[in-house]
Symmetry: C2
Amino acid sequence: MRLQDIVRGLEEGNRRALARAITYVENDYPEGKEIMKRVFKKTGNAHVVGITGFPGVGKSTTVSKLVQKFREKGRKVGVVAVDPGSPFTGGALLGDRLRMEGLDVSKNLWLDPGVFFRSMSSRGRAGGLAAKTGDVIRLLDAFGFDVILVETVGAGQSEVDIVEVADTSIVVMMPEMGDDIQINKAGILEIGDIYVVNKADLGGAEKTVKWLKSMIMMDQEAVEILSKTSHADEYAVESGEIFERMKRSSDWTPPIITTVADRGEGIDELVDAIEKHFNHLKSSGKLKERRVRRISREVFSIITEEIRNILINEKGGSFREVVEMVVNNEIDPHTAAERMIRDLRTNT
Amino acid sequence: MRLQDIVRGLEEGNRRALARAITYVENDYPEGKEIMKRVFKKTGNAHVVGITGFPGVGKSTTVSKLVQKFREKGRKVGVVAVDPGSPFTGGALLGDRLRMEGLDVSKNLWLDPGVFFRSMSSRGRAGGLAAKTGDVIRLLDAFGFDVILVETVGAGQSEVDIVEVADTSIVVMMPEMGDDIQINKAGILEIGDIYVVNKADLGGAEKTVKWLKSMIMMDQEAVEILSKTSHADEYAVESGEIFERMKRSSDWTPPIITTVADRGEGIDELVDAIEKHFNHLKSSGKLKERRVRRISREVFSIITEEIRNILINEKGGSFREVVEMVVNNEIDPHTAAERMIRDLRTNT
C-alpha cells in the first residue's frame, strides 16, 4: 500500500489502511510521520478515556461492556490496549490473543465496523507510553471514532502514565483492595477522574467505596493546603501531570461507581459519569488545558527522540568519544553532556 | 555546609557530607552537578547489585541479610532503595520508615559506619530511575563503598529499569509464583543474572525452580535463534538493554538460589553467586561493555534534561508558540518538533 493510498483509505474509512498506518507509526517508519502530518487536521474530536487498575480487577470486561454501551448509543469506539509486555515472552501478539478471549462475551464486537481494537506494547519504547500511543490515538481520532478507550494491561508505571494521554482517567478497583499500602504506592489513587469498584458482588464493596471516598477527600484537602503554600510549585514540578490532575478536585469530585461488569451492572452509570466528565472538561475550559499540557509533553518527547537519532547517526562519533572518556574516568557525565549539547548547537 | 566542605567531607568519610551531597543531587541543585564533577575520578570501583521482584517476596529481608553477610566479609555496603511512591501519600519518607521496620532484625546495621542506607523516590523524575540513581550510586562509590545494593520497592517498570544501573541484577521470587502470566508480562524474567526463590520453607519451591529453569533455557534458545536471524537488530533496538542482557546467556547461565531469608538460609550461596558473577563480568570484559552502555544512556538522559531546561527557559516563548499551533490543529506535533530542533540548532 502506498502512502497516498493509506491516507485516502483513512479518509474513506478503510480499516486495513488504518491498521497499516498504525503499524507504520508503531515501528517508527518515516511513512508514519508523513501520515500523521497529513491526517492531523482531522483530529481533536474524540473523547480519550483511559482505563487503568491492577491486574485481575476486570478492566477488560469493563472495557468490553463500555464498548457495547457506547455502540448502543451510536458512538464509534476505538480501543487501544497498552501492554508493557516483554518483547520475547509475549508482547502485543500475546496480548491480542488474551484480550480476544477476555472479550469472548462480546465476540460480535469484532465484526462491528464501528469498533476497532488494537493492542500495543509499550516496552522498550523510548519516551514510554506517551510517545507512540499519542499518535495511535490520533489516527483513531482522525478515522472518526467518537470515543477512544485506552486500557493499560498489567501493573506498573504505565498506569500512572495513562494520565498523559487521556482526557478522562478511570481507575478500576475491586472490593478488599482498600487499606493496602501497595495501592497507595502505585500512585493510582491520585489520577482518577472516575473510580470504579468492580466485582461488587464479591462483598466488601461498601468498605472499599468508603475508603476511596476518604482517600479522595484527603487528596483534595492536601491539594488545597499545598496550593496555598510556597511548596506548591515544587510539588507541581515533581509530580507533573498528577498534581495538575489533583487540582481538578476543587470543581470535580471524582464519582465512585460500583459495578459487576460481567453482568453489565453499573455500566449505564459509568457511561453517564464518563459523558458528564467530558462535558465538565469542555465547559470549564479544562479540556483545552489538559490538551495543551499533553501536546507539550508529546512535542517534547518527539524532540527527545529526534535528538537521540541525531546523537546516534549524525554525531555518533563524538558521542562515542565522550562516553569513552567518562568510562575511563577522564570526565564526568555532566561535562560529557555539556560538550555534546555545545556540539549539537554550534556545529550543525 | 559549603560545597568545598562537602567535597572534603566526602573524601574524609563524613556521612553527613554524603547525605547532604545526595540531597543536592536528588533535588537537582547546581551544587549537585559540581560535586559530581569533583568526585567523579574516584568512582568505578564498587560492585553495583540490583535487587528486584514483586512486592511481598522478601526483598528487604534479603537485602538486610546480604548487608550483614558482606559486612562479615569486611566489605563496606551502601543501600539505595528506589521507591516509585507517590509524592503525597508516601514517597521516600514513608519508604524509609517501612524499610527501617523491615530491617528490624538487624537494627544494629544502622549504627555500623560501614553501612549507609538511602531511599529515593523515582516518581515524577524525568528520565526515570537511571537519571538520578546513577549519580547517587556514583556518590556512594566515590565515598568508598565496595558493594552498592540497589533495591526497587513496589511493582512496575522500575523493576525492569534496574538493569540500567546494575552490574549484577538479582530477581527475587517466591514459591507458587511460577506459571503466572503476570510475571511473564512484567518482563522481569529476562533481566536476572541471578534468580532467588525466597520463602522456600513455604513449600512448592522446587516447582518454581523447575519452571524458572525452563524459562531461562527458553530465553537462551530464543536469543540464540534470534541472534542468527535478520530480526536480531530489530529486537535489539526494541528491547535495548534487556536484549543485551539476555545475550549474556551464552557464557553465563543464571543460577537459581533457594533461600529462607528471614532465617538467613541460602544467603552464603547468594553472596557467592554475586561475587562469581562480578568476576565473570570482569574477566569476560562484559563489565566494561555494560558500563559503556550504561554511561551512554546516562549521558543521553542528562542531555535530555538539559534540552528540557533550554526549551522551558531559553526557548520557552517559541515552544509555547508551536504547542499552541498544534492545539489549534495548525501543525502536527512532528512538524512542531522539527521547528524546535531547527531553532535549537541554528539560533543559539
